[in-house]
């Protein structure tokens, strides 16, 4: 039995189910929490928890090896977007040191059908930077992610900035290497 096709077959679900479920979660949080800043933090945390577990799925599916520089990492992140959210952000705006880049997209299944009142501090898609941070932490990369532009706030595209902070040396579990 070939593992690639049967066991690791990428199962799919309707993207609208995801859109609406995520929307329901966000609105539930807003109902229960007064402070939008807390909701942002909580969404980021949820993304982080997902990222920590998604990275394993990603490594199993793609047989990726360790990235040697950020450009490779950016490619993998782009691949992960395709794999998990069926969307293709572009990687651009590299800093000259090569440690910071932007992911830009104009369509995302999480934020479809969403309209936000103006002057609202909510970062609706905060789950995504959380997931990136969580996933990369599991491969010993400490990064910082933040939104530079957000379509939901009237910008033409959504731009997420990712910055490399440091390698996490201590995170290697005992027995590795």
């Amino acid at each position: 039995m070939s593992r690639q096709t049967s066991r690791l077959d990428a199962k799919k679900v309707n993207s609208e189910l995801l859109t609406l479920t995520y929307g329901a979660l966000v609105s539930q949080m807003l109902k229960e929490t007064e402070n939008t800043e807390d909701v942002n933090k909580h969404l980021e945390r949820i993304g982080y928890n997902m990222g920590v577990r998604l990275i394993e799925d990603f490594l199993a599916r793609t047989t990726s090896t360790r990235c040697l520089e950020m450009r490779e990492t950016a490619d993998k992140i782009q691949q992960a977007f395709k794999l998990y959210l069926s969307m293709q952000p572009t990687v651009t705006s590299w800093s000259s040191a090569g440690d910071e880049f932007s992911l830009v997209w104009d369509h995302c299944p999480l934020s479809e059908w969403v309209e936000m009142p103006s002057n609202n501090g909510l970062k609706y898609c905060a789950l995504i930077p959380g997931a990136i941070r969580g996933a990369l932490q599991m491969v010993q990369l400490d990064v910082q992610c933040w939104f530079v532009q957000d379509q939901l706030k009237g910008d033409p595209v959504t731009e997420l900035r990712v910055k490399y902070l440091k390698r996490l040396e201590d995170a290697v579990p005992a027995g590795e290497d």
């Binding site: 679900v13 309707n14 609406l20």
Partner: protein
């Protein structure tokens, strides 16, 4: 085309409705659902509380699905007959939403208000193992919430609960008024 001026602030209602064939990874959805369960659990004191919260989130989803699917799948025509409405949920809605129809639709022998929609493997339960001390918890109450909202918002007020029976059974209990009205429709 002189639409540019109005384009500047286009709302979602100005955009065409997508075909809805988009797909995302099940792993991603399953993890998100697991986070939703954990989030709700952290904020509830009992299993009933948790079920109530999950159902509420499901209802939010169902409310929005209702119009979407009637517009797209049924040419904006709503169902007025009880049985047709249940069949719509079992077949059309479940098929588009979860990729397969629900397995069975049954009518309770002893109570004309009660129907059962039975599904062997609910998608949301796929990766969930319920701890022994919470045996009665069925996270598919989220799906039950979807059904409840779809029924209630289309004029068939009902309460829907999820139970462990032949996989997952959604128990649909209609208001008396629904049954009475459906009978007068039959008579005509």
């Amino acid at each position: 085309m002189n639409m540019s001026s109005s384009r500047s602030k286009s709302s979602i209602l100005d955009k065409p409705l997508r075909k809805g064939k988009g797909e995302v990874s099940l792993a991603f959805y399953a993890l998100l659902f697991s986070e939703i369960v954990q989030y709700s659990q952290n904020r509830s004191h009992s299993i009933q509380d948790l079920q109530f919260k999950l159902s509420e989130i499901g209802q939010d989803v169902g409310t929005r699905l209702l119009d979407l699917y009637f517009v797209r799948e049924r040419n904006s025509k709503r169902e007025i007959k009880l049985l047709n409405m249940l069949l719509f949920i079992k077949s059309t809605l479940w098929k588009v939403l979860f990729g397969k129809e629900a397995d069975k639709l049954e009518h309770a022998n002893d109570d004309e208000r009660t129907y059962y929609i039975i599904e062997k493997d609910a998608l949301v339960n796929k990766f969930i193992s319920v701890p022994k001390d919470k045996g009665s918890l069925n996270c598919a109450i989220f799906n039950a919430g979807i059904i409840e909202a779809v029924l209630t918002r289309s004029g068939f007020p009902a309460k829907v609960t999820a139970h462990w029976h032949k996989g997952t059974t959604y128990m649909v209990k209609f208001d008396d008024s629904v049954i009475t009205r459906d009978k007068t429709l039959d008579d005509r």
